[in-house]
Symmetry: C2
Subunit: 212 residues, 2 copies
DNA sequence: CGGCCCTGACTGATCGTTCAGTCAGTCATA
DNA sequence: TATGACTGACTGAACGATCAGTCAGGGCCG
């Protein structure tokens, strides 16, 4: 029927299934057989399309990182860097996309979190898919917050850590907060932004307050 | 000779080897054979002492978490909560132990980071080994920073995220900071503390500044 | 017919786990 | 002190299951 603009139904089914399986148990914990079963295809088809498990994993990450990076750059470009609150926009541009629709939901959020704390395979993937944009954000943070390259790099890392701590674990945050209702996406973005801004501005406050 | 007070050389060799292997590739990525080979014993001995791979994993985590929690409580008890800077002490009490000698070094640091973002197996382990102490810290943060339970729970989670972002990845932070030299342990504690305090105090600042 | 999508059946390797059995050392009895 | 029963620590070999990856061929469509 109307599959004229669809590359292949199975390809997206495979990527979705792989994303789901990789999000539980990580790379080593996911089996090709389980991915194939979830996608409703044979394991041979996975190898036909992607060759190896490694390449399939890479494609899963690339699909989401591309969408996230695109939205991040759009949001970052829209920030008026001369504003006093420019830093809020920069942080939100970094934090919102992984939480929104282009972020791919809870499943990829876990993979995303795993990428940050992962080993060589993940590190190489991050270098390829996220680092170029990361450097743009380090610059933007430095400019918006008026801090040095040193502190900006650290601020970027810590802001991402703040993001991960919230998205990776469902339940625990709410359990520690002692409330039943989940936070909405907008509330999460707002709180991370507030926390990160406070943290970033505090990073070099000592120097500012004591200019002796 | 003087092994009178040594439980067993092999048991600590196994735990050390398992910690190392689990830190690369996580639970599913580590093999019993590789652990046994690193420890210089047979795979059968792992099962003799621990039964299953799951239990071995649990013991690896428990050994370190016990030492970390002990030091955390000692540091927290030493904080004079009436001080204006009590929040610094609370944050440092939370952050320093995993970075120090009782934290077990880089190897366990990765496992520790993986625990926070992990799935069911890790979550159950965290609930058992870290949650009771976590609640104590949520209270302390609330008291020291003068914020509500809600914000304190979030502050705890985010502070841990800040910690993880720094300890999990060697190299990347420095790469983004554009400097060659590594940060010393004390510098790391100081910067995390500064960032987290700034973030925590910003969490409810909006309400404070507009008491209408 | 030629090319692409796709599968069932299969491979060798590796997985966690089990098991029968060895070995050194302890303890009680003689 | 010598001896036999007993125990905990430990191993080599093997278990069935599962792993990622291969391959020859079937079906469909231009």
């Amino acid at each position: 029927m109307h599959d004229s603009f669809v590359i292949s139904d199975n390809i997206v089914a495979i990527l979705d299934a792989a994303e789901q399986e990789f999000s539980l148990g990580g790379f080593a914990g996911a089996g090709m057989k389980a991915i194939a079963a979830r996608a409703g295809v044979s394991t041979a088809l996975l190898h036909y399309h992607y060759g190896t498990k490694d390449r399939l994993y890479q494609e899963v990450v690339r699909r989401r990182s591309q969408a996230i990076n695109e939205e991040r750059m759009n949001l970052l470009d829209a920030v008026r860097m001369s504003d006093a609150d420019a830093i809020d926009g920069v942080i939100a541009a970094l934090v919102r996309p992984p939480l929104g629709p282009s972020g791919g939901g809870r499943a990829y959020a876990r993979i995303f979190a795993g990428l940050i704390v992962g080993q060589e395979r993940d590190q190489a993937l991050v270098r390829e898919t996220y680092d170029p944009i990361a450097l743009r954000f380090v610059e933007a943070i430095g400019a918006a917050a008026g801090i040095g390259r040193d502190a900006a790099g650290l601020a970027y890392t810590m802001t991402l850590g703040t993001l991960i701590s919230v998205i990776a674990r469902d339940g625990r945050t709410e359990r520690l907060m002692g409330r039943d209702a989940l936070l909405t996406e907008e509330e999460i973005v707002a709180r991370i932004t507030r926390f990160a801004r406070g943290g970033i501005e505090a990073l070099e406050r000592r120097q500012e307050e004591r200019p002796d």
